[in-house]
Every structure is written in C-alpha cells, then in structure tokens.
C-alpha cells in the first residue's frame, strides 16, 4: 500500500475514465475473491483426509475425466481472450462467436461437474458423509456457481451484442466479464492441483 503514494495516481480530475475505474474495481473484487477461495481451499486441506466411513479421494476421483474437463475450462480462457480481442477491435460478429463459444465450453464444464457429482453420490460420497465430502462439494460447488454466473454474464453480453445495447461504457462489458472468467479459470487451476492431483 505504501508505494501507492506515487504521484502517477494523482487524480485525473472531474472527467474520470469510467471503464478504467470499472477495471480497477474488478481487480479489487478479484483480490477479495482470492481470500474467499483461499478459505474454502484451506477448509478442504484441513479435511481432505478426514473421510470417516466414506470413500476417500483416491477411491472415487476419476482423474482422466477431470483432466479433460479441466482442459476444456482452460481452453475457454483462450476463446474468451479471443472474444475480448475482437471486442477491442469492435468486430462484433466475431466477438459474439467467441463469447458464445466460451459460454458453451463453460456449460460443458458444468455438465461435467454435474455428472461427476452424481457419480460420487452414487458411490456413497455426499455432503454429509464426511468432512471431506462437505469440503469437497462446497469448494467445487462454489466454483461451479461462479462458472454458472460467468456463463450467464457471457450470454447476456453476447445477447446485448446482438441487440446493439453493448456500448463500451455499458454496465457490463466484455473486458470485465473476461477478467472474471479468467479468474474463475485460474481458481480451477489451483483446485485441480490441490483437490484432484494431490489425491492420486
């Protein structure tokens, strides 16, 4: 915080740049989200071996399956950044394609998660089987929730792109949605390692 006193941040005066401010706000919010997921991950680390009578991580995880869905989510960052690129160039048509592709990949990921959850429940792991189960479902479920919100925002922006309501200083813009989306992806990178790969 100390170094923020550098004069390069001196107020720009009355006419502040709205989209810059939004980006800054989004970064601050994401900084806060780091602590949110940090707490969930910490809970998981504390409970990952407390499996009680229920199945353990190693017994039920299907690493190849999760690797594929992780890969899909990772690639959605690529489509996202390409959409962002088109948005910056004001190529609305391409932008819509990439945004919808991103939303699509996100939905595939979510479908994978739903499938995974039902599998686990069948194999006897629910939220109330063991602290491991609670921590696992709440952590990954929370991440899933973030993905779902991201998908909704992507769809909304894409639709706004169709109807021409999307302006550069609109309340939601592709820049912001992009930051959020990448962040959700980044969180999954950590979850994939901490939750899945460490259990092998």
């Amino acid at each position: 915080m100390t170094a923020m006193t550098t004069p390069d941040l001196a107020g720009p005066g009355g006419h502040h740049d709205v989209s810059e401010a939004r980006k800054l706000a989004m970064w601050a919010f994401l900084g806060s989200e780091v602590l949110l997921f940090g707490s969930l991950i910490t809970t998981f680390l504390l409970y990952r071996t407390r499996v009680g009578d229920g199945p353990s991580a190693a017994e039920i995880f299907d690493i190849p399956f999760t690797s594929i869905s992780s890969f899909i989510l990772l690639m959605s960052s690529l489509t996202m950044v390409l959409g962002h690129h088109s948005w910056e160039r004001k190529d609305w048509r391409q932008m819509r394609v990439w945004l919808l592709a991103t939303a699509g990949l996100g939905m595939i990921f979510l479908a994978g998660q739903v499938f995974e959850f039902t599998e686990f429940v069948h194999e006897g792991l629910t939220v109330s089987t063991s602290p491991f189960g609670s921590a696992f479902f709440v952590l990954t479920g929370f991440h899933g929730l973030h993905v779902a919100v991201g998908v909704m925002m992507l769809m909304a922006t894409a639709i706004m792109g169709f109807t021409g309501k999307l302006r550069e200083d609109g309340g939601m813009n592709v820049g912001l949605v992009g930051l959020y989306w990448h962040f959700v992806d980044v969180v999954w990178i950590v979850i994939f390692t901490v939750v899945y790969l460490l259990a092998v």
Partner: protein, 98 residues
C-alpha cells in the same frame, strides 16, 4: 498517464501459442501426478499450477500490461492468502503432519 514501459499487447497468434503451452503443462501435471516420486511430486505439481496461474493472469488477463495500481490490488490478496491460511493450517498441524 502513459507508462512507457508497456510491452505491446499480445496478438491472437500469441494467445493460441499460450494455449498450447497451457495444454502441455496440464498434460505434464497429470503425468507427474501418476508417475512422480513422492518427494518431488508435490512441489512439482505446485510449481506447474503456479506457472499456469501466472500465465493466465499475466497474459490472458493482461495483468502484465496493466497499471501498477491494479497489480497491487490483486497482489495484496494474493500475498495475504497463503500467509494467513498457512498459519491457520500450521496451527492445526496440517502442514507438518502431511
């Protein structure tokens, strides 16, 4: 408010390249998880996850190209989290135990 040191923004070609790198690391991660020796496995996995993290945040989220203020906002959270949670886990004996 021009920060002269800004490197040029990546192009779509760069984005695709980065994606390939990310894919390769992911493959390596899975491989290490299965065949790695226990002593090196955990640090290696964390190193690779960290690399992916940095790549996505730096290039896809353009943090490399942003103003210092943005970076600091995010870094604050990023630095606080491992320290605080490290202490919590330590007090539960998790870090020493496993």
């Amino acid at each position: 408010m021009t920060e002269a040191a800004h490197p040029p923004h990546p192009t779509p070609r760069d984005y695709w390249l980065i994606a390939v790198v990310l894919a390769v690391i992911t493959a390596a991660e899975v491989a290490v998880a299965y065949i790695g020796v226990d002593v090196v496995k955990v640090p290696l996995l964390f190193a690779m996850a960290f690399a992916k993290f940095v790549i996505v945040v730096g290039w896809y989220m353009h943090l490399r190209y942003e103003k210092k203020a943005y970076r600091r906002l995010f870094y604050l959270g990023l630095i606080a989290a491992p320290i605080l949670f490290g202490v919590v886990l330590f007090s539960f004996g998790v870090l020493i135990g496993s």
